[in-house]
Symmetry: C2
Subunit: 483 residues, 2 copies
Amino acid sequence: MSSIFEITHKDAAGRIGKLKTPHGTVETPTVMPVINPNLQVIKPSEMRDFGAQMLITNSYIISRRDELREKALKDGLHSLLDFDGPIMTDSGSFQLSVYGDIEITNEQIIEFQKTIGSDVGVPLDIPTPPDVPRSRAESELETTIKRLIEARGMVNDEMLLAGPVQGSTYTDLREKCASTISEHKFDVYPIGAVVPLMESYRYAELVDVIVSSKKGLDPTVPVHLFGAGHPMMFALAVALGCDLFDSAAYALYAKDRRYITSKGTYHIDNLSYLPCSCPICVSHTAEEVKKADNCSDLLARHNLYVTFEEIRLIKQSIKEGNLLELVELRCRSHPRMLEALKRMYSYSDWIEKYDPASKSTFFYCGPESAQRPEVLRFSKRLERFTIKGTAVIRPFSMRTYPESDNDLIFKAPFGSFPAELSEVYPFNAEVINDTDLESLGKALENTIRLIELNPDAEFTFIKGKELEHPLFEKLEKIADVKE
Amino acid sequence: MSSIFEITHKDAAGRIGKLKTPHGTVETPTVMPVINPNLQVIKPSEMRDFGAQMLITNSYIISRRDELREKALKDGLHSLLDFDGPIMTDSGSFQLSVYGDIEITNEQIIEFQKTIGSDVGVPLDIPTPPDVPRSRAESELETTIKRLIEARGMVNDEMLLAGPVQGSTYTDLREKCASTISEHKFDVYPIGAVVPLMESYRYAELVDVIVSSKKGLDPTVPVHLFGAGHPMMFALAVALGCDLFDSAAYALYAKDRRYITSKGTYHIDNLSYLPCSCPICVSHTAEEVKKADNCSDLLARHNLYVTFEEIRLIKQSIKEGNLLELVELRCRSHPRMLEALKRMYSYSDWIEKYDPASKSTFFYCGPESAQRPEVLRFSKRLERFTIKGTAVIRPFSMRTYPESDNDLIFKAPFGSFPAELSEVYPFNAEVINDTDLESLGKALENTIRLIELNPDAEFTFIKGKELEHPLFEKLEKIADVKE
Ligand SMILES: [Mg+2]
Ligand SMILES: [Mg+2]
Ligand SMILES: [Zn+2]
Ligand SMILES: [Zn+2]
């Protein structure tokens, strides 16, 4: 267990946690606004007004510019930025990935981060992009791991040390990297080099990368999805166990006249109305923002407000146990996100290990809900139900029914379960009457398995009107199906 | 065509319009905050700050209280409320429905509304609740229509006159009422007595009531969904052609410590975080709001902000042509809303008549998207495609393919269409690779019909990997299916 990270609430593989740093404790999930040491659109000292608890900046950029470096060395990083809360520093890895070479060593940048008083330092890892040949991914990973171990040897308690997980789009390399570096006990684990996946809307592959990295990590350590700053994918990433995000997007998008929402991005010039209630949007019309001299400042502020609004909603959802409902909602914003949702549920078996067994209510949101960990958990436990004698399976909406030794209820997407469980989570689910084919199919599969597990019992299945599915043919062979 | 209502933009059966009233023009869709003449949580003069353009109050309450009545008669309604924009007045119908009897006649209340200078007056109709015996619905409707005609005879240009559509949950009565009163040319058509449906989450039946009412009305008249004030269902109602809403909810919910969002309602005491960026929510923590002496005032303000935020988002979506995407998103907030979405698309044939033929992009959001008017329109036009000789149908993701006389693309939920249309709306849709069964089924149905419509052509269907559906059996009988 991590001594600097305490998990206080859980839902799916997501959690609310407390991360202790030298400059105070932050509640996760949270986003660290990226501060460009050369150019500050919004002052670090203002960031708390938007909801920020922790910042991130770039130690390499500070080290390269004389006046920044000297002030940082003399007065410290917190004085340089005029922010007394936790500050994480990046190492120049990104610049390395863009320019191919930088003028600093891993040892030097770690030493510099320690000296200026960073709260979380990052080694000079190599952010291997997606789709490179495996040999390149492997050799760069070897270098990354060597540098991480070198850095680990240089840092004690003076700052937290991040151990980035690399491995390109090779999920086995991601998992192997994660488990290898875990032995060296880093404090925070960034998942690196995912920006190209997000930029090209490859969210399903992002899910693969997150899950494989998480599989190699101790589930109690804090995980940072490095470079992820768009609120549209926060809920998804949190549900998979990411705790920290960083956003340069708020400023970069603003510079490009783009207006962020939790459902996607607008170009301000295409907006006739401002679909937001933040202090900027309720005091300006779309036309006013477009024409304002400080348009990019206004947009950056709006972008930050909605970024932290989403974080608050996610935390609220974790506390209520309906994070998956939020993920299903957010993933309807774009077909590529919907693919990511389906990909996420292809890992339900893994999510199920972390998902609390009891919550308030399960809301059915569409065919993907049939793949939720709660449904999978029920499928796995079908052996536990021993049924003897006669059994009537009735639709959940039916109140009167023939007598039998076992009163069972059929409710998609689950299947058939003893009526006395119908008020227990997840069987108390709010579902739809006329369900989707995937959901009906899953429920019929589970029902057929239950019947097959109890070959001596005699089953009558009362079919709701208008239910049609190819699996009924199979069901009719093993049970008495009545309309 | 209505001379006081101009429709400027359309999407699905929804529209942006301009409604001319004696006190100015308002842009619809919009919400009229309900002003209680006895108790004003938020002053009418402040309402514009939240986005309100028009208010609604109750002329019966004003007429019953001496000091209000006298001031209204002496200085006028606008002076009484201190608001110089349009004000609609209700007639006491609601009080009638609650108390069974009220001390005013239809004639008196119409006269009173005219005298005090209401912008839109309402006759004393009878709001017949859902589920009453048909005989009661019919006889009350007869009285309502009689009073409406009486009122119509009393009002000229001095104020606009509303003609409420009643008929309980009998859709034929709703349609008949709408078409009967349409002959008498009212200015605004409220759909009445729907609050009980909304209070019990009977959104699918609400869809039935709206569509049947709309079917009896001229499509160019403004329609008011009377008593609807929760932003969760605005997008759905707008997509069905509602233009005006009224919200007492902002204040009533606040009094009850309830916090409105476009995804549903929270009790403030259950909130640990405020998932909103409005000026109230970014300047208070959840704890502060809970403990504030003016808690209900804070909540009422928050509730108003999010109410008008949703209206702005809906208008933006209409302008962009993605209102249906927004409806599909909003309807995932609750399984009862998901049922309403499915019900809405059961009327796709009706929606299709109003939906613009060309928009920007169609986003596939789930199995319901397969029932969108665009898909239905394509199904209806399959006869227009004449195919001769050989035809290859390839998956939309496949780039190289055998030569043939006709190059067709298979893309769910549409079906098969000539490749040259693939960049044209709606075939340029953003869809998911691994589609839902309903969507695949719809596409296969349309493909089978296309093949059957062209019996002389010779079809080869190149099947994408992992595609499984019972309809392939049928397809294999009429086309050469290759993996
Ligand atoms: Mg839940
Ligand atoms: Mg569209
Ligand atoms: Zn805003
Ligand atoms: Zn708010």
